[in-house]
């Protein structure tokens, strides 16, 4: 506690520290309560008819893709069962079979067992909309 005597040194410093403290408290409050996460901005849609990247992030968390794949930007998505999905938007092929496109990726996510029967990735039972959103997120990884 002894070092506290010299902190903060100036009046400006004090005000700044106070403001920073208040901002930190507010941020923590928002973080703990979940403010601002309920309504994703519609501007996140990459283009009309394409999937929504923000929604796709939520779909990927919900479907537990991360228990088998490493996926940048997804919390705890650090699985080593399937291939890592970093820079997926730059890949040429999906599962070495389908040319990489948002439509093909959405199809693969729903019907991977049709594309490569007996492979370790299950048909995910996502809806077409969810699959498009998840595909939009993965294609955005560049």
């Amino acid at each position: 506690m002894g070092q506290d005597m010299t902190w903060p040194r100036s009046k400006e410093g004090r005000n700044e520290a106070g403001l920073r403290g208040a901002a930190a408290v507010l941020l923590l409050l928002f973080a703990l309560t979940g403010c601002g996460r309920t309504a994703p901005a519609p501007s996140n849609a990459t283009r009309a008819g394409a999937g929504n990247i923000t929604e796709g992030e939520v779909v990927i968390v919900r479907a537990a893709c991360g228990s088998c794949h490493y996926i940048p930007g997804i919390f705890d998505a650090d699985g080593r069962v399937g291939p890592p999905l970093n820079r997926f938007g730059r890949r040429a092929f999906i599962a070495g079979m389908l040319p990489n496109s948002p439509d093909n990726l959405a199809y693969w996510l729903r019907f991977s067992q049709k594309v490569v029967p007996g492979n370790a990735m299950p048909n995910t039972e996502l809806t077409q909309r969810e699959a498009r959103d998840a595909a939009a997120y993965l294609e955005s990884l560049r």
Partner: protein, 213 residues
């Protein structure tokens, strides 16, 4: 807290040097007490106002997810027993498979096989377990299965299954690391026809597990 400290400090710098110590100590004390009170009152306000979004339909914020997840990981690591001296028997895989397929499959799925659709609605959701042998030791897996995980959908199975059965499940989950979908379905067919003991011996030779057992 900041306010209390700074007001004391300004009085401090204005005053004589010899009388510094006591007001500062008081300031620090009052600062800590009022800071603690502010945290307490703040928590009550957050709680009473319903500000925290309890709905499972919205995901955890990164901070909340990170804190709870790492709290869980550390708690399991600290509480799990040592693995030394534990031995597994080949036939445990087949017994564990039967238990897994009937008790665990709905939420955790299997190789090439999807879990139930409604599990997507859990927050946090249940993971697929094909990578668990890499992430957890046998004793840690035993703790997770037997005692469950608070604030998730994972029940404590020790109230339903015998301890030996839980070890069978642990052995099977570890064997699932690198198990092919065809193998899983074959075990299902074999279990249905009642030939599980022969299956257990056969599968032992093919399963690979990263941890020594």
């Amino acid at each position: 807290m900041t306010l209390q400290r700074t007001s004391n400090l300004s009085a401090d710098t204005a005053g004589a040097r010899g009388t510094r110590r006591r007001p500062l100590l008081w300031g620090v004390l009052i600062g800590w007490v009022s800071g603690g009170a502010a945290v307490g009152i703040g928590s009550m306000v957050v709680m009473q106002s319903g500000l925290f979004d309890i709905r499972a339909s919205t995901p955890h914020l990164f901070v909340v997810g990170w804190l709870t997840h790492h709290t869980m990981i550390r708690s399991v690591q600290v509480r799990a027993a040592s693995d030394s001296g534990r031995r597994f028997m080949p036939e445990q895989i087949a017994r564990g498979f039967r238990l897994y397929d009937s008790h665990c499959f709905a939420c955790h799925g299997g190789p090439g096989l999807s879990r139930e659709r409604w599990v997507d609605g859990l927050t946090p959701t249940a993971p697929y377990l094909l990578d668990m042998a890499r992430q957890w030791s046998p004793s840690q897996l035993h703790l997770i299965v037997a005692d469950g995980i608070k604030m998730t959908g994972m029940p404590a199975w020790k109230f339903t299954l015998a301890d030996g059965e839980i070890w069978d499940v642990v052995r099977f989950v570890r064997a699932m690391h690198g198990m092919s979908p065809a193998r899983y379905l074959q075990m299902r067919a074999t279990a249905a026809s009642g030939g599980e003991s022969a299956l257990g011996v056969a599968n032992y030779a093919h399963s690979r597990a990263p941890h020594p057992q």
